[in-house]
C-alpha cells in the first residue's frame, strides 16, 4: 500500500527523522490561510499517489502573498495521471546545499534489504540508473544482522561526506529508516531528495513509503494511516470482501479462482479477439458470499456484457462456487449471460447444483472463453 508524502512524513516524525516544517490543506482557502501565517517563501506540494507531480506542475514555490492565490488554485485544479489533487502540503522554503537520494527496499533479486543512495538527489532513480549508473551505490543488508557501521561507512565514501557532524546526522537518519522498514513492514522507504541545508542540517524533503500488503495486519496502529486512494471504489469494495480485483477496459467480466488462471483467462479472451473487463480472483476457500460480491462488483461496470466464470477447483471447491452462483441467481436479478467453466475438486457436485438451475457448464477453458467472446459478437 502506497502512502501519501504527508503520511510518510508523519511516520518520519514518529521515528525522529527531520523534515521541513509544514502543514496540510484540503482546499484553497485553508491553503491561503496557512500561507498568510507562514514565513515566506513556502512550497506548495500536491498530494497524489503517483510520481511525476513536479513535471505536472504540482510543486510550486510561493515567494510573495501576491503569488499565493494563483499557485494554490492552479495546483488544486490539477489532474495528475488520473489522480485529482485534493490535498496540498505547504512547507517552509529552504536554502539547499546538496541533494541526495536515499532509500531502502525489500529486494526480490538479492533477497536482502537493500540501501540505495546516489549523489544525484531529486532525479528519479530509474533515470540515474540509466544515465549515470556509477552514481548509484547499492548496499545489501542481511535482515538477520541489520545495518552495521561498515554499511554506513560505504555510504559516506560514496557520497564523499567526511564532515563529522554531517556523518552523525546521516547515520542517525539511516538507522531510523532501517528501523522503520523492519518495524512497519515496508517494501520501500525512499527520501528523494534528502537535503543538506544551510547550517549543515539534513532533512527529508520528500517521502515515498510502500507498506507490504502482507504486513499491514501486523502493524499496531495501521488504521491511522490506511488509505485506499489509489484504488477505484470497486477495487476498495473487492478488497474489503477479500477479493482481488483490477478494473480493465473491456466488456467480458471474469470471475476466476487463482491469480495466474485469472491472468491467463484475460490473455485468452484477448487472444480470441475479445476484451476482458477486469481481473478478479475469488481466492481459495471460497464461501458463497464471495461469488455474490464478485458478481455485484462486476455488474457495476456498465460496459460488461457477459460474465465468464473460470473455476479450476483445488483449495476452492466447485460446489462452493456453484452454491454461490445459485444464491446470486436467487438474490440478484442477473440480466447478463453467464458462461461457466467448472472442473476440479467436487466438480460433480458443483455441476449438479448448476444443472438444477438450468445453467450449463463446460470443463474446457477454451470453449468457455470462445463462447463468452462469441456472445459479445451477437
Amino acid at each position: 500500500m502506497k502512502l501519501y508524502e504527508f503520511q510518510g512524513k508523519g511516520l518520519f516524525a514518529r521515528y525522529h527523522i527531520p523534515t521541513p516544517k509544514g502543514k496540510m490543506a484540503e482546499n484553497v482557502n485553508q491553503a491561503l490561510d496557512i500561507i498568510k501565517n507562514s514565513k515566506l517563501p513556502v512550497v506548495v506540494k500536491a498530494q497524489v499517489l503517483t510520481g511525476g507531480r513536479g513535471k505536472a506542475g504540482g510543486v510550486k514555490l510561493v515567494r510573495s502573498l501576491d503569488e499565493a492565490n494563483e499557485v494554490v488554485n492552479s495546483i488544486f485544479g490539477l489532474d495528475i495521471k488520473g489522480y485529482k489533487v485534493k490535498k496540498v502540503l505547504i512547507e517552509e522554503g529552504l536554502e539547499i546545499k546538496k541533494e541526495i537520494y536515499l532509500s531502502f527496499l525489500m529486494n526480490r533479486n538479492s533477497e536482502k534489504i537493500t540501501l540505495i543512495t546516489s549523489g544525484e538527489g531529486g532525479m528519479e532513480i530509474e533515470t540515474v540508473a540509466k544515465e549515470k549508473p556509477e552514481a548509484i551505490l547499492k548496499v545489501d543488508i542481511d535482515p538477520l544482522l541489520g545495518i552495521k557501521s561498515y554499511h554506513i561507512t560505504s555510504v559516506f565514501d560514496h557520497l564523499h561526506i567526511s564532515d563529522r557532524e554531517l556523518q552523525k546526522q546521516f547515520t542517525d537518519i539511516i538507522k531510523k529508516m532501517y528501523k522503520m522498514v523492519t518495524e512497519l513492514y515496508l517494501n520501500l522507504v525512499e527520501i528523494n531528495p534528502l537535503v543538506i541545508i544551510k547550517g549543515n542540517r539534513i532533512l527529508a524533503l520528500d517521502s515515498k513509503v510502500i507498506i507490504d500488503d502482507n504486513g499491514v495486519g501486523f502493524i499496531k496502529d495501521f488504521d491511522a494511516f490506511k488509505n485506499y486512494d489509489d484504488l477505484t471504489p470497486e477495487e476498495i469494495t473487492a478488497k474489503e470482501n477479500g477479493l482481488s480485483f483490477v478494473k480493465l477496459n473491456g466488456n467480458i467480466g471474469c470471475i476466476v479462482n487463482g491469480a495466474g488462471l485469472a491472468m491467463a483467462t484475460m490473455d485468452m479472451i484477448k487472444h480470441f479477439g475479445g476484451e476482458p473487463a477486469n481481473f478478479l480472483d475469488v481466492g481459495g476457500s471460497s464461501n458463497p458470499e464471495k461469488v455474490i460480491n464478485a458478481i455485484k462488483i462486476i455488474r457495476k461496470d456498465k460496459n460488461v456484457k457477459v460474465i465468464l466464470f473460470n473455476i479450476f477447483g483445488g483449495i476452492t471447491r466447485c460446489d462452493d462456487i456453484a452454491n454461490g452462483i445459485k444464491k446470486a441467481v436467487e438474490i440478484l436479478d442477473i440480466k447478463l449471460p453467464l458462461v461457466i467453466r467448472l472442473t476440479g475438486t467436487n466438480e460433480k457436485e458443483g455441476v449438479d447444483i448448476l444443472r438444477s438451475l438450468g445453467l450449463e457448464t463446460t470443463t474446457s477453458m477454451q470453449k468457455a472463453v470462445k463462447k463468452a467472446v462469441s456472445l459479445i459478437g451477437e
Binding site: 525489500m106 526480490r108 533477497e111 501486523f218 482481488s244 480493465l248 479450476f312
Partner: protein, 288 residues
Amino acid sequence: MAILLNKNTRVIVQGITGRDGSFHTRMMKAYGTNIVGGVTPGKGGETIEGIKVYNTINELKNKHEVDASVIFVPPKFSVDAIWEAVEANIKLIVIITEGVPVNDMLKIKNYIKGKNITIIGPNCPGLITPNEAKIGIMPGNIFKKGNIGVISRSGTLTYEVVYSLTNAGYGQSTVIGVGGDPIIGSRFIDLLQHFKNDDETEAVVLIGEIGGSDEAIATEYIKKEFNKPVVAFIAGKTAPKGKRMGHAGAIVSGAEETAQAKIEFLRKNKIPVAELPQEIPEILKNTL
C-alpha cells in the same frame, strides 16, 4: 525417482486442526501421502482424520521421524510456524498460507542458506509426485505419473496445464507450485537444478507470470546448464503496469518484468513459449 517427494516421505501438517488443514489432510492421506502427525499448539492429544496432533514439532519428533512439513497456519501465526519447522531442521517445508510478511520471508531465506532445507511457498498450492504422494492442496485426480516436470508460480493455472498434459498423454514426474509471493523459498532456478539430476524427468514445463525476474534467471540457467527440453507459458500479457494482479509478487515494476519482455527473452534463448496454456502438449510433442 521424481524430486523432493515420494510415497515414503514422512509428512507432518502444521495447523492440522483448522478448516483447510483438516480437509487437505484427508485429501493428502487419500492420495497416499505418508502423514505421520499434526501440530496445533494447545490441541495436543486430539486426533484429526486419524492423525495424532501435538502441541509442538519437538514433541512430535520424540515419536516420529519427519521429512517434510506442510503449513496451513493462518498468517498471524504462520511466521512462528515456519521458524518452528526450520529450527526442527525439517528438510522440506511447504507453506500454503497466503499473507506471510515479506520481511519475515527474507529473514527465513537468509537463515536457511547452507542449511540444506528446501522451502516451497508461501502462498502456493504445494507439490505432487503423481501416484506417490502430494503435499498441499492440488486436486490429485488430474495428475498422471510420467516424465514431465512442472514448475509454476500459479496454482490453478498449474492445474489447467497439467489437465492438458494428462489429457494429451503426458504424465508428470513432479509438479511444484512455487507460490505467488515476491520472496519465495524455492525459485525456478532452484528446482531446475533438482530436475536436472532426476532420471525420471525428460522435459520441464515452466509457468511464469508478470513481476520479478525469476523467469529471466531461469532462462540464463537453462541456456548454460540445463540439458533437457523446456516449454514455457507466461501469464499476464493483458495485465496493466503497476497494478498487483492478485499475487503479491505479480506486479510489473520495470519494463523487463512484463509478460512480453519475459516471453521475448525466453524465445531469444530458444525456449519455446506457448500462447495458450492448452498448447503446451503440442509444443512438447515437437520438442521431445
